[in-house]
Symmetry: C3
Subunit: 346 residues, 3 copies
């Protein structure tokens, strides 16, 4: 992933473009390219800090700051009132992780190794949590899409906050489960004997600097979404569900594929599934809570987002059930992703 | 469960309240509280009789009279034409059993034992039957909700009776399967060496007395539903899907949790899943047939009930697939139940 | 299946009926009865040729010509513009294979053998591909049924062609997977030491003659559909989803049941699941491509067809997951099929 670091050059380029008031399309592209390596660096810094802090706090830090980039981008989108983009990017992160990342890992890994095995019992815990989470999200969505909407004003918001709260509590309980009561289940994986590359001070400074620069670039990115989509005739929804998740997760994605190429399918699957779980149980509720500062955003997804989420969860439960993968499975996951993307584009 | 018996004091209280023409809310509460211990006693009496009658007839009796309370309450609701309440309480019993009872069993059992195992091959037979039953019910429901309703008058009723008949035949074949052709599969479970507590005569008398008193209390309960929901601003649907199932199943529910606390997860899971299966394949069709005496009730559920049923079936199939449970799984099931309940309340 | 050959007598009868301009009902019945043995003979001839050609090309021939009858019937239906009938018969072939054929195999096999086992790892590859295929088909269907249809004109067709292309590519990759990269997975099954009954020349002549006669009979069949459904008050949709698939697959169906009766459940399951997969991934896309010669047919199914497809896929994934079957499972599959058929009839 070293080549990603060359993209850091887009930080000054994007700032210059903003000052020169270039076409929003260029600002969108430059700030996107700048965010990709920053998100990667931020992930590395978090991992460094976790080595110093010991496995428990480290696991917690990783689980919580792993999606910081998405949180920052979404924060600015919330501030601009781009609720459609925020919710689409939540759903898009989940399908991107499960269909595109897992698919690419299985495909490229499968070209090198005939059959790749992974520990299905850990994946099943996550896949099962993902099933419950998506069911929990679907129920109010189905209700509100069917019931007469006028009956719901007011109550609707409370339902959304209640669901967000339930998700967040399950998230905390899930961390307690994996780091306290059932940590032996995950034991062998998390016993990290890796040496830290950076000092703790350097790691914290990198984390802080990245956060600040990502915030800046996210502001550029978000403010260019509306003029860009208008001039290109793209839907904001497409940008939210396909493009933003790819930007926010590019670093993680390349890690997962690299792990698959090293035949560490366990890690690749855990990145894809674990990351999806964090987005639904942590990022989505936090964004609902944060939105209360501006204008309340509902956690209730639209039909397309629900379909995409349900499809992802069905597939991940199917895939987890045999603990094996091959290139054909990978290409099928990618094909489903491409069909979803084309459907949204049209 | 001994403490439940103190609730028998609500039999005279509810009768007094009815004669004093108290507020329907009180009548609803008192008769509900009176039904809970009666349902428990009735279950015990059925089990006593099964010890005398030998395992085959005993199993049949248990399977058939296990839901007598629901049948009696629903009979009076049918007579009053409260079809919405009857159908909601069928769906509510299934989700109550699978999400609330199974969830509570897994949660409380999981607090005491780290991982609880159960025989997944027996659960899979039931989970699989539940899947087929809910699919069978969904198909005409989906058709009738999509197709122009005017085209359906008349034909609609026959479709409903046909589906009810199909369910009932599958129920009888399922009993034949588990007590004749494949009884060895269930062998070890049903070999009951327990001593009867009561004489056969005493058991029959208790069964009869309970039936009569439950009938009386059900009449009070049902007649208070409409005035109560009006004065409290609750929907009849909420009463049907959440409250009535809890009343009718309280005794079974506490048994399941007690079994989980004794690490007999097999029994707890079988109570929850088996009971759901009986409701769909036996109680629902019988109520359709009984309704022909008054005004025909269709077996076709509305969208919300279908969603609740499908969700329950997906979850039970997921849960059954690994033959293990822990507290986190339990709390997730309960969370889904709470989200459903809140959605219906709003 | 020898008795099927007596049905060949309906070839001259149907030709005579056509010349005598008999009632379309009779023409429909006679040509249907003539097609059944022809489809069987064609299948046999294909298998003979595969013995000569070696396992790889033979497997490919079998996989590709196995559904020739459906292709020929659908070709004439496309030419007549009967898109509803064509699409209904695609969905109907899948549900017929999975619910009726697999159900009948499990039921009749289960009457003779208490529990029948099959190699679940092979079935899981097919069941998993079926899941992906149906998900791939569902996504654009859900989108187009929800989105305002006026927005879609034009684009709609491209989406359909794109999905058809994706399906077809997955089909080719699936053949490459099973005959090249992972052929050992299927190894023991395909090692056919059977002696050819016919010479290669005889086989090719039979194949050609059958193709020509099926084409003739299909033309009779298709041209009688419209007048027949009108005079009987049946929907064309019912003919497409229930009757035509039974005609086209009767020979395969009886083979599957015969195999189950010989306790070769592996073969029976593979016929049902493999055939469904070929229909979705090969027959459906080819028909979309062929339709471009006349008037473009969309690959997007209606709600009922989608429900039937999704139900079938859920069931086959459930059934495949334990690698065992019994008579009760069989009868449940048949019951779901009957409920679907009755719903369509009404």
């Amino acid at each position: 992933m070293k080549f990603l670091k060359y993209l850091l050059v887009f930080i000054p380029i994007s700032i210059a473009a903003e000052f020169m008031k270039m076409d929003p399309i260029w600002i969108f592209i430059f700030s996107s390219l700048a965010i990709i390596p920053l998100a990667g660096l931020m992930g590395e810094a978090t991992e460094e800090i976790s080595i110093y802090s010991g496995p428990r706090i480290g696991g917690f830090l990783n689980a919580t700051f792993g999606n910081a980039t998405e949180l920052i981008i979404s924060f600015f989108a919330l501030k601009e009132g781009l609720f459609d983009v925020v919710k689409a990017s939540i759903a898009g992160s989940v399908i991107g992780n499960i269909l595109l990342v897992l698919g690419a890992s299985m495909f490229f890994g499968g070209l090198k190794y005939k059959v790749q095995k992974f520990n299905k019992s850990i994946v099943e815990v996550s896949a099962s949590m993902l099933l419950f989470a998506v069911i929990g999200l679907s129920i109010p969505a189905i209700f509100t899409h069917t019931v007469n909407k006028e009956l719901l004003t007011g109550k609707y918001e409370w339902l959304s906050i209640g669901v967000a709260l339930a998700m967040f509590i399950i998230y905390l309980l899930g961390l307690y489960f994996s780091f306290y009561t059932h940590k032996d289940l995950y034991g062998s994986e998390h016993s990290d004997e890796s040496e830290p590359k950076w000092s703790i001070l350097k790691s914290i400074i990198i984390l802080l600097v990245c956060t600040i620069v990502i915030a800046l670039e996210s502001e550029y990115l978000v403010s260019s979404v509306e003029p860009m989509t208008e001039s290109l005739g793209l839907s904001k929804f497409f940008v939210g569900i396909i493009i933003i998740p790819i930007i926010g997760n590019a670093a993680e994605h390349s890690t997962a594929v690299l792990m698959a190429l090293k035949n560490k399918m366990d890690v690749a699957v855990e990145i894809a599934v674990g990351s999806s779980l964090q987005i639904i149980l942590f990022v989505a509720p936090v964004l609902v809570f944060v939105s209360l500062l501006f204008k309340p955003m509902s956690i209730i997804f639209n039909e397309f987002e629900m379909v995409a989420l349900i499809v992802s969860v069905l597939i991940v439960n199917r895939v987890a059930s045999d603990g094996e993968s091959n290139w054909l499975e990978g290409i099928q996951l990618i094909a489903v992703y491409v069909i979803i993307a084309i459907s949204f584009l049209i």
